[in-house]
Symmetry: C2
Subunit: 361 residues, 2 copies
């Protein structure tokens, strides 16, 4: 990694940087968030030694992970989402890769690359070192964006959903919605590693082609072309569904419940089709009774409850990446200014794979 | 137990009894089943030794358990219910207590009292001895109807739901719908034994009084008087719900999902509010997204998957009954002719506790 221009000034007792950051200007209960809700500002930030508390460090942000769950942090209510909300006028946070540029924790030294689950969406910040999830080995041969993709939020979500909660056996029939998205691409590959038959749904014919050719899915369908999800699932799952990793909720979940096998598992990773609506406007699932007869287990999960498993996950996943068993497709948008458009793009079906904002090279 | 008149004839080589039974005349997709669907007939049945295959026996039915899930066996479709359907023109089956009157299995002798999960709803029948779940000790001090109540289908369902799947801790907040029904009365008592705070919903003020006075519920409400279940649950669960044993589905389940605590468990025992409707007419649950943020586990169960635990359950429950910790309220209707009205009564809110048909004294 090349040192940035800023580092030249580090010995200056009055080291102050101008840091551009995204802050919450207004909550957004419905619809896709826009520039009324999230705004940019540039603030001076002192990085002089005295400005950094003990067990804190100065972080230079390199890459920011853009994930659908961030949407749920700016509704301003606990209406069905229950995640900690962003605070008005405060900088927002996201999963990120950054570089330690001044440390007051002896475990980290200047130049260390670190993975931070709740990093300010800012060029520079001063945060507690307890927020660091892991150091990144720059010589690992794995690209930094991959640490936010297969080795970050979506890869970990896929691993918890498929390996921990879904637990499919070889030959199990696995269905994954939003299959060409960041979670879906990782989940499909993890299920294939387990020897499953894996089918995905996604939003275009090109994406169907992609999940089959690049992510190893056995087959898939374009939900925009299916007028009746029940018919589609009958075709793709003549032997029923054993595991459904649900990323969308609503009508697709309802259709799946008409095709579940005995003791099917449905890990609920998120429900992107429902995020932009208030709850009384969401699509009701009418056939939960099917869960009784088929003894289905449906379980929601949040990564925060599984951090103690992150080491197991990272070890598995790094092995798969190095062996070429898991590939990640990353859409990298340049500049912190691109964060809002990147977030909005998650809700327009325009993306494939993982969306990352590159703040610094 | 007094011998019946029939036994006098046992040495007769041409021992034939007239047996009255209920058979399926027509499936019933919607509404409460009536005499168009289930009909009575009396058929001659040879109980002579040559008529009984090896490892079979002749059963004289004493008490029949009338359970809501029987409704799901006569829809004629697998529309969301997935239980084995009754066959047209064939005698229907139910959980029953009976007496062995002629055995071709050396493990059972004439006069043994037995519990049979799928006994013909008939005065007499010849069935495989493999259908016997357990022998009943006539000297146990426990009444025969209690073997169909706290020690039968509803008691076992309550035990699986509360002890195995719900697994509440002392002080947990437990909610039980259909609380004065056969499952609810047992479930509430089991949760109290675990040291929980237990609230029930039921269909009348008298039933609310009953669950508090006889089944140990801390409190309860009459759902027919509540215009907004959300408001009711806010009042009764200021600290949220940890375990919800769902017996009704629909709007109550939706309201509960607005009050769940982190990692709440929702065992789905049945959905009596939904049984008499085709699935597209059922009430959609719009707030399943809450399951993600609260990491809720919802799991359907059928007793057939838990028979291997029946011994553990029966040992626990017999102890509780003998210690006076579990009481059962049983509504006993006399005569096999009363079976259809007994079944229909489950859907009219007219019952309290367990409904049993007494076939023989």
């Amino acid at each position: 990694m090349a040192a940035t221009g800023i580092v030249e000034d580090k010995n200056n007792n009055n080291w102050v940087v101008q840091s551009t950051e995204w802050y919450l200007a207004a909550y957004s209960a419905e619809g896709v968030p826009n520039s009324n809700h999230l705004k940019l500002r540039t603030v001076p930030l002192s990085l002089s030694y005295d400005s950094i508390p003990d067990d804190h460090f100065a972080l230079e942000t390199l890459f920011i992970s853009v994930d659908p769950f961030l949407r749920t942090k700016l509704t301003g209510t606990l209406d069905g989402l229950y995640v900690q909300q962003y605070q008005l006028n405060q900088v927002i946070t996201a999963f990120a890769v950054g570089r330690v540029i001044r440390s007051k924790d002896s475990k980290y030294k200047d130049g260390d690359l670190v993975l931070v689950p709740t990093a300010p969406v800012a060029e520079y910040s001063i945060i507690p070192s307890s927020r660091i999830l892991r150091k990144i080995d720059a010589a690992s041969g794995i690209s930094l964006p991959d640490y936010l993709s297969s080795l970050g939020v979506p890869g970990f979500a896929a691993w918890v959903g498929i390996v921990v909660l879904g637990d499919p056996k070889p030959g199990s029939n696995v269905f994954i919605s939003a299959a060409s998205g960041a979670v879906g691409m990782n989940a499909g590959q993890l299920a294939k590693i387990r020897g499953c038959r894996v089918i995905g749904s996604t939003g275009s014919d090109d994406k169907v082609k992609l999940i089959k050719e690049e992510f190893g899915y056995d087959d898939g369908f374009n939900y925009n072309k299916e007028s009746d999800f029940d018919v589609a699932l009958s075709k793709y799952f003549p032997n029923g569904i054993d595991v459904y990793l649900d990323n969308v909720g609503g009508k697709m979940l309802e259709a799946v419940l008409n095709h579940v096998n005995k003791h099917a598992r449905i890990p609920l990773c998120g429900m992107i089709s429902q995020y932009n609506k208030v709850w009384t406007e969401r699509e009701g699932v009418r056939n939960l009774l099917n869960m009784v007869g088929k003894e289905v287990r449906m379980e929601g999960f949040m990564l925060a409850s599984y951090w103690h498993r992150f080491g197991d996950f990272a070890k598995d996943m790094e092995g798969y990446i190095k062996d070429g068993k898991v590939n990640s497709k990353n859409k990298i948008n340049i500049g912190i200014e691109s964060f809002l458009d990147s977030l909005a793009s998650l809700f327009t079906s325009s993306n494939i794979g993982k969306v990352v904002v590159q703040v610094k090279a």
